[in-house]
Amino acid sequence: MKRLSILFAVVMSMSGCSTLQESWDYFDMARFDNNEYLLSVDVRTQANLGARKCGTPEVNAEVSKLWGSTLKLKNYAESIPKNEETVIMTSELLEIVRGLDKRYNIDKKTVSMKYCTIKFTNIEKNATIITNVIGRKPHDR
């Protein structure tokens, strides 16, 4: 009983929550999901490959693929319960990619080389952060 009390106290202090319900909610989270992880790796890889096509006619197709991969990741993350942080991350990333897709494939504007490389670099950097943190979600035992 004493050990259980200690465990309870540790749980409350780890979560920083004032009530048992808040503590329960804090620890009740989406766990590691193979599909979600793979989709995030796809986005990261697609951003890496797309950056190499800046300034070439093939870049439009790369941007379309990146848009598709990012949308798929966001939609998949949204379908998992208790997955709030991942939904925020993937939604923000999708908005970053939206600007790129709009410029290349909707407005069909002239795009500077600098914009293209900065944009892809930024997307890859954020996709790496997302992939790493998704990969470290608690695994089922």
Binding site: L7, Y26, I118, K119, N122, R136
Partner: protein
């Protein structure tokens, strides 16, 4: 006006708070490239907006990392408690 903003960014780049310094460094670099004519105005504005979005991604990633770690610790505590109880 943009020169004042750049001066302020330079002060922030030297800030001890790493996250803030990184953000200021990125913003300063974008502003310099815009002033040098390497970026169109609409491209520059979009990339500056992206910095805010990137910050939100970092904040959510930090929150998720802490929550995941806390969960793993709890799993370990429960396993250990199961062994000794």
């Amino acid at each position: 006006m943009i020169d004042n903003a750049v001066k302020e960014l330079e002060e922030w780049v030297g800030n001890n708070h790493t996250e803030l310094a990184d953000w200021a460094s990125d913003a300063k670099s974008l502003t310099e490239q815009f002033k040098a004519g390497g970026l169109a105005e609409d491209e520059y504005l979009e990339l500056m907006e992206d910095l805010k979005r990137s910050q939100k991604i970092s904040d959510a990633a930090d929150a998720l990392a802490v929550r995941s770690r806390a969960n793993e610790l709890l799993d370990n505590l429960i396993t250990a408690a199961g062994v000794v109880l």
